[in-house]
Symmetry: D2
Subunit: 369 residues, 4 copies
């Protein structure tokens, strides 16, 4: 069987991680093209990663590469449209989180993919991060007894790309960017049959990036699940010192703590500093947590390898568009909770253009439950 | 100046820690008596700690020892009555957390102490724990810039003494027992002039101790403060593996993580096991976190040394009955929030016999705001 | 180009790790056969790893599989003979550490491989372990200034297989088994042009395994290098609690600490215990350090991927038979030092059947310098 | 009983730690005077610590304060003379490590103290550091089975005071300064009846301080004990990033790791930096290990409290001049070993002016065994 052809839609930070992951760990995939809205970025990316073709026209990228899979690494507001275009072009889709901006978009892209008989694979890498997967196995082995509490925390000092800060492109701030990981990971840990019942959220803005965005910079959410489990998600765009991604799981028979970055690192003291310690680390003078194999440890190669295998064997992916839609629903509930100061029950299907509007109140959302 | 005479009211777990603390670190104090409701406990405690007199009658304990200070280490439901009795007997009072069961009791004991011109010192040891005090100094030095987020977590597998599980004696479960630490510590970190605006709480019961109590075993609270700071308190009576007490502080200029138990320990692997690793550790076979100087590291000697110094120099203590009352108010708000699923604004002055009733709904509280 | 055919010579613990590594991470390799002296082991191994053919005759394994590479995972005393047989059969050789038992064997196998124009690749995985490679990069970036001190420590509670304890098969105990890692890693860190000048060693026996072996169970070596760097290697077969593998590098501009096992793990408390925490962990009740991707983190897939790439592109491997021979020389010097209580200068070329005899004094080695 | 009067002989770094320790933790002691060779230092020290009298004449300091105890915190070369003067003046002596420069001096000061019936207390604080004492208790409880290996490591970037770098005042470099801790701690852990049999050492110079001293900056020693236990001591004056003091103990039944500084700290990231993280930390920008109660955690208050109690109750101290002399003997053996590249057997009684001369070979030591 020949290699599965993948075209990367996007040439930014995440696309770079995807490209490295395919190249080093997914031999069954072949990167046949990259698309960017910027010609310079597309060209440079293709050169850096040894990709034969680069495009600034999406239709050409999909058609001329004869690709099997479109791997979409674009700003959030483009997720739906491009997924739909790719599906209509008969391409399987890998879509980065969060799924898209509205539940209507989510419905449409899920339906379109089904209608065109293409796979829709939701790229939630925490479901594949090897340390977190070991944690999930521990739980399945019964090591912790009956789980009652989960905590997931992802924090750093703010994304690199400008679009995150433009709420029309991102749909929200730190929660939109990273809270989706926590929500998805809770569902993954508990099993999809354990429904989330409600979300409470508290948000803060104007911490480090107030001059460039109204988006929330710090967020804490409390999620209730059917059966009594509670999960807490903490996200920040205002935490200095490098990437932080950690989980805790408490059960009646035990507890586990797992830390993806600081908990995997070498500990270095350097008077002069050096090139790179970890994602978003800032200065490397003094003490630093020196990471290695960051993509592998976060689960990117493993998720992409899984998706390509699903395409090749025509099996359903472990993380789907439906999963992404539930997560989006929970994100919406969180924003609305932050506004009204109450738990918001699920299901929750507001009509709103950007999830954050449920918090900021830019419009009167009509809440259909 | 002769030593300040202290009578210990109570002979249980905390009284034991207090006694060791006085003996080793507070030379200006002299333990002149111990009271317990049980003759066996009183006698054994006196013998163990070399205390001259033991009592099973409170009045006698206060009168016959000619004590200056009554250090009250009794079940929560006795806090108010005994504080009032001690104040009326002209004794300064050290009262262990939480202050008492109701705001009415709190008002009364505060007023009585004032009326009898005795000091009322609220024993919140986290305000004195050396590692946490270093953290507070860091913040005051400006090391973290402007703080926006605090997290305090205390968890273990459940208290030793039976009374905790009897809601008539305790007033509530894990939050009542340990959430008061987090609430007090946040106020201590931010300064009393930074008012708590609201509390949201999510509680769980029936985890490890469901057979013996309806009290909450796991609790997470989100506190909003005036000025925008948010604090999260996590407490559990269902976490195995030993005591856990840790904090995080996030600011616009930095972050700090501090762990009182596992973060201070020696790391031991023992095939056979040994005597004692840390508070509530369970088995000592296999890997354990071996602690040392637990009382010192939690702040007990430092708080008692401070209180005795206040008595000797007639200066006001750093942690007062008023602090304890605000914390009780926040506890009440948390229980009510857990019931209604909404943030509860402060001030919050319900009339209720036991804080947990605001959650369990045993009676219809009349909420006076 | 078709896949490189590899036959595994051996079906024990290390062969299992190699097989998993090829299967998951080295798509250019194809495992075409496995050899074991035991028919049961060969058959079971082939079944477990989906290998088409199994053999109990080495000649057949080499000839009938039409393999390109023989990957030798056998007891130390067989390393030389089998390498020579494989080379004579025209197969490239991957030889697990330590290289062999005597310098004469080392000379012969290096010469034979050269004569038959096959690659000889010395499988020292620490030169490929991703965390340690990041450390090496740090040093090359100048992060630590000028290095003056290295420490490498590998300890556990003793190997699984019986042959390690039979000195005729192993050639020595903990140092022979694991000290080769430290010696090789120091040379890798400093560069082969920085010669080791001397070795001092102190050894202990009769700790946990005294009933089954005279081999050393604990060993500490001090190595001097040309230019003034000093390295310390600590090895033990008598350390409970699981695998330990850590390094430290001190320089005039900084320091780095890296821990491969405990430093990469999730931290778990389990009342009941569970299946597997880490290599040689023992009990999983209580606290454990739960590892994941152990082969990847130790460098096995990376070294095998490198070797296969060298075969395919006809380029010299990073770790060679010559490297293995220098390490063997250092091992010999260490054993002799342990006997005479002095540093032993390099080069050191004793004639002795088993390195440990230089310590145990079973025969009078004639020392040719 | 009135307080025990102590005069501090010295007003430098260690004297400061002693003063803080007495003031905060040893109520039975009263600091009645401080002596320094510098009038400015003496005056400033007295002011800072609230000590009534300061002196620049040693005789006056001893006579006019009517002190009971002379606590000697002076450069090494003055230890013997001042101890003898204090003993002749009838004062009990606390002498900081290392005991003195020569075994002759050691004999004389021990004899003089005996002759004048004053206590000689050797201030080795590692025998009192609470975390290390917990480790020792663990061993005594049998938690680790039969011990076979000890490791003690103390490293930093070099002392503050100039005299350390002048070999005529210090007698040696990093080993003289800190190796005494490791040697003493091993004897303390194993019990004085377990004799050290030999010492091997490897030393390096010219790392960070080569311009100002010929003293060794990095040192590793291997000590053999009667009964088979081996200890390794690592010391450095060229390790950046702050104080490091850690131990490991391996036994047939377990293992323990204990870290006094980084292992007790809060973990801080500060963009701007702040006042003080830990002893010898350097910059406080970026990540730092923020310590607290450093004196308490290193054992200074506990050792001084013990010494004062010994004076008050006329009981022998746990750490004596004889202990200090054995340690000095081991230091000498280490320096000589570093020169000849061999283990040096104990007892070892060379005649030499400065221990380091046994390594540097400034004179021909006559070695009397």
């Amino acid at each position: 069987m020949s290699r599965t052809k993948v075209v990367l839609i996007g040439a930014g930070f995440i696309a770079d991680i995807h490209a490295e992951s395919y190249h080093r760990f997914v031999p069954d995939a072949e990167l046949v093209g990259v698309y960017s809205r910027s010609e310079d970025h597309a060209r440079a990316f293709a050169l850096k990663h040894g990709i034969a073709c680069w495009f600034i026209d999406l239709g050409e990228a999909l058609a001329q590469t004869d690709c099997d899979v479109a791997d979409i690494c674009l700003p959030n507001y483009l997720h739906a449209r491009v997924t739909i275009d790719a599906a209509k072009a008969g391409k399987h889709v890998i879509i980065e989180k969060p799924l898209c901006l509205t539940l209507e978009e989510a419905d449409e892209l899920i339906t379109t993919c089904k209608a065109h008989n293409v796979k829709l694979m939701y790229a939630e890498e925490l479901c594949f991060a090897p340390k977190y997967e070991r944690v999930r196995q521990l739980v399945r082995e019964g090591a912790l007894g009956s789980i009652y509490y989960l905590r997931q925390c992802e924090r750093h000092s703010g994304p690199h790309s400008d679009w995150f800060y433009d709420l029309n492109q991102s749909g929200g701030g730190a929660l939109m960017d990273m809270g989706c990981h926590g929500f998805a990971w809770f569902r993954w840990m508990l099993g999809a049959e354990t429904k989330a019942l409600s979300v409470f959220a508290q948000m803060q803005t104007g911490l480090l990036h107030g001059a460039r965005t109204r988006g929330e910079e710090n967020s804490v959410c409390v999620v209730e699940f059917d059966g009594g489990v509670v999960g807490v998600v903490e996200n920040s765009w205002a935490k200095l010192g490098g990437m932080e991604d950690r989980v805790e799981v408490c059960g009646t028979g035990g507890v586990v703590y797992a830390d993806l970055f600081m908990g995997n690192s070498a500990l270095t003291y350097s008077e002069k500093g050096y090139g790179y310690a970890m994602e978003k680390a800032g200065s490397t003078q003094g003490w630093t947590f020196t990471n290695f194999e960051e993509a592998f440890n976060q689960g990117y190669p493993q998720e992409l390898k899984h998706f390509i295998a699903c395409v090749r064997s025509d099996t359903p992916p472990l993380t789907t568009g439906e999963d992404g839609r539930v997560v989006l629903e929970m994100l919406n509930a969180a924003y609305y909770s932050a506004r009204i100061g109450e738990k918001v029950s699920l299901p929750f299907r507001p009509t709103v253009s950007r999830p954050i509007d449920l918090w900021l109140g830019n419009e009167s959302p009509s809440i259909r439950l």
